[in-house]
Amino acid sequence: MITYIGSENIISPLGDSARENFIKVKNNETGISLFSGIGVDKEDLYLSKIGTLSDNNKFDVLLAKCLDSIIKESSDNIINSKDTIVILSTTKADIQENLTAPIQSSVEKIKVAYKLHHTPLVISNACISGVLAMNTANNFIQSNIYKHAFVIGADVISDFVLFGFQSLYAISNEVCQPFDKERKGISLGEGAAGVLMSSESSVFKKEALEFVEGTSSNDANHISGPSRTGEGLYRTVQKTMELANIKSSEIDFISAHGTGTLFNDEMESIAFDRLNMNNIPLNSLKGYFGHTLGAAGLIETAISMQSIRTNTLVKSLGFEAEGTSGGINILTQNLEKEVSTILKTASGFGGCNASAIIRNI
């Protein structure tokens, strides 16, 4: 049985649809800009922040907008089906508004507003949440537990998260430069993205792609420092390829995590080197969207799906000079080529790593 994936949507400072976002990304425009006096010591910092929405209730607004857009791109009424699950991916949800229960009210609101048959499943597994949410949807569909899954990731910028990353010295004082020699850390971002996954290709209004397989693996090494051997990333990609029965020579493109911190990007390059994926074109999209945490996996997957649909790979914005030891093929300019099979990866605090393979049908 095939798991189909499609109806992708992205809401970010670059636009309100996957197509709009992809066009901006293709033009190498970034959503990141300088905000004055927002740091813990009132310093100016770069963020990818959605200015067109009020900060008040932004998380719920993003979820609803994203879900509406996917519903519009799919068959009528499947959202209310008993065969449908909604899976939400977030790290901190609306932490600024509600410190002790940041997600419950959002879940309830969605359940009631969209008349859902099942309570949405919330995955909160650091920065791999988005990829893990798609993997989970695929597992449910392949096991006939559900036929359709609306998978949505969202996170918003808050003092809580910004000050936290500042306390770890993980925020760059410039626009983030994933994989570059001069990289100094992340730029925080916010946004939402989602996809519909289903066992039926007929529920998609536009042609769907195939979600082939996805897994996760822990580094078993450190809670906040990436593994020096890229252990968990190496293992999850290996597992995913094995289960998908796909060799690395069949992969046309890697949508990497690439946060822009020294240790994360180095870790990823080591893992891809161990996987002999040195020549596969690769990018990080954090230079366009910043690090959107629980939304990142879905935003980056949605852009990569657009790459498959248009046979266009976009350059890794912010990358100029090689700054990792693994020897990997980072895209320094957009590339028109046939893109059939892509690998999406993510890594996060807690030593977690996830990967997924999507291909054209």
Binding site: F160, F165, I223, G232, L243
Partner: protein, 205 residues
């Protein structure tokens, strides 16, 4: 099909293994209770003392499950899935982290790293060198149907076993439930995994 081989409840005053009292605790503060539980394990693990309350309870529960199931150590390092959930995410540490920077204070990096609930999965993985599947979910109540479904899915797909837990902690209360599921029936409890069975043993506390 998969099987529940052991389970464990931890509350403020008791630890129960497979539904039977194993330890009684007599203390009022959550910190003290956790310290007593750690001491009763009779092991030395220096990283324990750096953990937040949520991770400490996850660590203790995992060690208790290991004691009840020595077979765990024979599992392959990729073969154990870690599935955890709760209703409060990392609220206990989130409050402390927010306090650290409010009123002109300096945000604490050692608190911030624990403001993600899945960190407890990382702590268990590090302690045991387990590289398997990870998943942390948040739900308002213990969702036995999700657990039964997802354990069975992963065990059918690419895991031999799953260690699962539901852990909530705040200033006054610990509520934790752990269970260990395997593909092969280890003939310890003869409990096939399904949501009714899981609900029943969860409520035994």
């Amino acid at each position: 099909m998969s099987y529940i081989n052991s389970y464990c409840h931890i509350s403020n005053d008791t630890v129960k293994i497979n539904g039977e009292n194993s330890t009684s605790i007599d203390s009022d503060s959550i910190e003290e209770i956790i310290r007593e539980l750690y001491l009763s394990l009779e092991l030395k693990y220096s990283k324990f003392h750096k953990m937040d309350q949520l991770s400490k309870i996850a660590f203790i529960g995992t060690e208790l499950i290991k004691q009840a199931n020595p077979e765990i150590s024979k599992s392959g390092e990729n073969d154990i899935a870690l599935l955890f959930s709760n209703s409060r995410s990392s609220a206990d540490t989130d409050i402390k982290f927010q306090e650290s920077y409010q009123n002109g204070g300096i945000p604490s990096p050692s608190l911030f790293v624990y403001t993600l609930p899945n960190i407890l999965i990382g702590e268990i993985a590090i302690r045991n060198k387990w590289y398997g599947e990870n998943m942390f979910t948040i739900s308002s109540i213990f969702d036995s149907e999700y657990y039964a479904n997802y354990c069975n899915i992963l065990i059918k797909k690419n895991a031999e076993a799953a260690l699962c837990g539901w852990i909530n902690v705040d200033d006054d209360k610990i509520e934790a439930f752990f269970f260990f599921v395997t593909k092969k029936d280890l003939k310890q409890l003869n409990l096939p995994l399904d949501s009714n069975m899981l609900e029943k043993i969860y409520r035994q506390d």
